[in-house]
């Protein structure tokens, strides 16, 4: 790092502490790994819950639809910190011990996955429901008119188009979940933010607060950017060909 900064700037940057951040790169890297894994498990759970939930909200009826949409309202209407604390302390998450290498308590990880994942499912369901409802009615009618059952028509004609239209919404959601993994800080899960705090809270290291925070901000930004670009790429790769006549 730039050690030879002008004196006043050096005072602001407190150059010595950049070396401290650099010296602890391994701690932060493991934090980033936990963050990415937590994002992946949460989004997977979110998709597995949100995709069917969106379909039920679009096509279902009766008590199933009521149940699903009520669960969605509750999840979307609760602050994520409250959810995470609730899942960690409020429900009997099995005491699973920890993963030694990355120093992660599995029960905290599980609670964070459930909270982030189910909330994401509630949001993803709305993205997907909106996409389903945006598909022209004529698509379904055309499918039915060649003799496809409603189920076949939805599966082969509506879903493939709706998933494509969901990409921008999912992009949003991926970014939000990635950043919200930091909320697992509240239950002490050793993800990026928690580890960052552990670093600067060491006795005598309170001068490194800004450096550590700036570095993890950069890490969050890089992860967000990479996630978005990946989804852009996937969206393009699976887009429906368009062309001039």
């Amino acid at each position: 790092m730039a050690v030879a900064a002008p004196a006043d700037l050096a005072a602001v940057l407190q150059t010595g502490d950049w070396a401290f951040v650099l010296g602890n790169w391994r701690v932060l890297l493991l934090g980033a790994v936990v963050t990415v894994v937590l994002m992946a498990t949460s989004l997977t759970l979110g998709f597995l819950a949100g995709f069917p939930a969106g379909a039920v909200e679009a096509y279902g009826s009766g008590w199933t639809k009521e149940l699903v949409s009520t669960a969605g309202v509750v999840l979307r209407g609760t602050p994520i910190v409250v959810l995470i604390v609730l899942f960690f302390f409020g429900i009997p998450v099995p005491k699973l011990g920890s993963v030694p290498v990355v120093d992660v308590r599995l029960s905290a990880f599980l609670a964070a996955t459930l909270a982030l994942g189910l909330r994401s499912g509630a949001y993803q369901s709305q993205v997907f429901r909106g996409a389903i409802q945006s598909i022209d009615e004529g698509q379904l009618e055309a499918a039915r008119s060649v003799g496809l059952t409603h189920r076949q028509a939805v599966r082969h004609v509506i879903f493939p188009q709706a998933v494509r239209r969901s990409v921008p919404g999912f992009q949003n959601e991926f970014t939000i979940v990635l950043k919200d993994t930091s909320v697992a800080f509240a239950i002490g899960l050793a993800e990026l933010l928690t580890r960052a705090e552990n670093l600067y809270l060491q006795p005598g290291r309170d001068t490194a607060i800004m450096e550590v925070i700036i570095v993890i901000s950069a890490v969050y930004f890089v992860l967000t950017f990479a996630t978005n670009r990946t989804l852009d790429y996937l969206g393009d790769a699976f887009s429906i060909p368009e062309g001039s006549e």
Binding site: Q139, A142, G147, E245
Partner: protein
């Protein structure tokens, strides 16, 4: 026995009566053209035949069998439909539009479905556009894919719901040519259309529908030359002028 028999069909949407006591019969190879002002119930009548809409009262028979007793998917396999707005599956190529029903409904293998779809795309003159997506096709080409999609299911009867109304004038001819070919080939067709040239040359019967009731029904010469009702004369006269 008639291939299609519509008997005293009534249909209302809320308080609005769309069809009232509509009856007509078609034999195999007949081409029946339905004309009428907008809101006269033409589309609703077509949609009752493949049960995209259910009648309130009356009965419809396909080959002697009452269609409400039939499995609706089986009925729709036997009664193809071509839509005004094409309704091609936007995410599938021209070929994929035709194969979907073949693999999912007729349960053909991918290979069989593909070769059959190619055959039918060829029949509507689009063999070279098999891999194009709907957004890459012109309106006339889209509608011909729509016809191939319906035709490939080997239906007993084809319904056309204003197949040329969404087309630019210069694209109408290619679609009508395909329809005329089909008529000549003996396909039974029930068409809502305002193409009077097609009606004159291809129709076996013209039905004039107004306000949900059949005003007059008969062979084209009769309706064009010696209609019984003054309204028929006025309406057909207007259409013919428009088509000129």
């Amino acid at each position: 026995m008639s291939l299609l028999e519509i008997e005293d069909v009534d249909k209302s949407y809320g308080d609005e009566e769309v069809l009232h006591d509509v009856s007509l019969a078609m034999d195999q190879r007949d081409v029946d053209v339905i004309v009428g002002p907008s809101g006269s119930g033409k589309s609703t009548l077509l949609r009752c035949v493949n049960r995209l809409t259910e009648v309130d009262d009356g009965a419809i028979y396909l080959d002697g069998e009452e269609i409400h007793g039939m499995d609706e998917n089986d009925l729709r396999r036997r009664v193809g439909m071509v839509f005004q707005d094409f309704n091609l599956f936007a995410h599938r190529s021209a070929l994929g539009n035709v194969t979907l029903g073949l693999t999912e409904v007729l349960e053909l293998s991918e290979t069989e479905a593909k070769s059959r779809a190619e055959e039918f795309l060829g029949r509507v003159g689009l063999a070279d556009q098999a891999d194009s997506y709907p957004s890459q096709l012109s309106g006339g080409q889209k509608q011909r894919v729509g016809i191939a999609r319906a035709l490939a299911m080997d239906p007993d009867l084809l319904l056309f719901d204003e197949p040329t109304s969404a087309l630019d004038p210069e694209l109408i001819g290619e679609v009508l040519a395909v329809m005329e070919d089909l008529a000549e080939g003996g396909m039974t067709m029930l068409c809502v259309t305002h193409e009077m040239g097609f009606a004159r040359s291809a129709a076996s019967t013209i039905t004039f529908l107004d306000g949900g009731r059949i005003v007059e029904r008969g062979p084209p010469e009769q309706l064009f030359e010696t209609p019984e009702k003054e309204r028929t004369r006025t309406f057909l006269g207007q259409l013919t002028d428009l088509n000129r």
